[in-house]
């Protein structure tokens, strides 16, 4: 971990330990370049609502093993994702900017167990992972704004305590 922190002091622009980093080399403008992600997000949000993935009841069904729906959704998504990544690697498919697609190797740390268990508890309680939180708000469950703010607070507290937690 020491190494990572030294690296960031040299290169403060890239967030340390980010699971969704931006690896594009070509410069992007803050708004116009990012509008395509807004469009993709809209499509994604529609899928979330239409497949009822954002439903608190669907999450209860999943953890009670009363329905196959959520397992089917996640399982299919993983298989489709795996095949896509395999194809990108196999045929060395480039991005639309003609850049090589970058993959990162994840290193195990204790957060993968402790943090994941904590998230699992919250997932079952709120009926939402971070993505569906936004879609729940969009669907008119305004009170979920409080859940989202609390999730941002939780992320902030993690940042504050990070050095004291086992990794």
């Amino acid at each position: 971990m020491k190494n990572i922190e030294i690296n960031t002091s040299v290169q403060p622009s890239h967030p340390i330990e980010c699971e969704a980093p931006n690896d594009q080399i070509k410069k992007e403008s803050l708004v116009t370049s990012n509008l395509k992600y807004l469009v993709l997000g809209i499509l994604f949000g529609i899928v979330f609502v239409k497949a009822e993935i954002i439903s608190w009841y669907r999450i209860q069904e999943m953890f009670r093993l009363h329905s196959f729906h959520m397992y089917g959704v996640i399982g299919t998504a993983v298989v489709v994702g795996m095949i896509s990544v395999w194809l990108i690697k196999k045929f060395k498919i480039k991005t639309v900017q003609n850049e090589t697609v970058v993959f990162h190797e994840k290193k195990f740390h204790w957060g993968n167990i402790i943090g994941a268990l904590i998230f699992g508890l919250g997932w079952a309680l709120t009926g939402a992972c971070p993505g569906p939180l936004f879609a729940q708000i969009g669907s008119g469950f305004i009170v979920v704004v409080v859940t989202l703010l609390s999730a941002i607070g939780g992320t902030w507290v993690y940042g504050l305590l990070r050095d004291k937690l086992p990794h």
């Binding site: 699971e19 993709l40 209860q60 994941a116 969009g138």
Partner: protein, 189 residues
């Protein structure tokens, strides 16, 4: 066609579309699928404090914020324009289990007896919104990702730490529903 869109979409349609988000993000701009990062970027943009974890150029990662803003708008579009006119179908065993815990099962996506603004200042609101949200935000960041970053993106790229994390997500959820949740409901009901 309209009828097909209005009905709840089957798991294989949703799963395929969600899976395709992985190559879509990779190929339109070398971006990795992972939604919980957006929460961190909001911290970095609004309340970085003096915390090194939030000191980076969040503008470079702003695509993630546009993506989640899109998810919210997608929720609006799907609910306002494409919504299912029929009540949601819930597994009868789940209905029975929830009713045994004194949770009213209605026909919305979320039980309005819980996800209601009036509950905000009650014990129920504290548990479901404040505690629940905190566990999601703290847990995902400590785990280094959520269902998208670990379960979908991580497993798609065959990362074993993501497999461990995904198993622990599920273990936490099972523990909540079967052990903690009945206890919580006995207190707040």
């Amino acid at each position: 066609m309209v009828e097909f869109i209005q009905k709840p979409w089957p798991w294989y349609v949703a799963g395929t579309l969600i899976g395709l988000t992985v190559p879509a993000l990779l190929l339109i701009g070398n971006k990795h699928f992972g939604i919980s990062s957006s929460l961190r970027h909001i911290c970095a943009a609004c309340v970085p404090g003096n915390i090194s974890f939030f000191k980076y150029d969040w503008r470079k990662e702003a695509w993630n914020l546009f993506f989640v803003a899109g998810i919210l708008l997608g929720g609006v579009v799907a609910t306002q324009l494409l919504s299912n006119p029929d009540p949601i179908v819930i597994a009868p065993e789940t209905v029975k289990a929830l009713e045994a815990l004194n949770i009213q099962v209605d026909h919305n996506l979320m039980p309005s007896s819980i996800f209601n603004v009036e509950n905000l200042l009650s014990l129920k609101g504290l548990v479901f919104f404040v505690v629940g949200g905190f566990l999601v935000g703290f847990g995902t960041r400590y785990a280094g990702g959520c269902t998208s970053g670990h379960a979908i993106m991580g497993l798609s790229t065959l990362q074993w730490p993501s497999l461990i994390a995904t198993c622990c997500f599920m273990a936490g959820g099972f523990a909540m529903v079967h052990f903690v949740f009945p206890w919580i409901m006995s207190i707040i009901a």
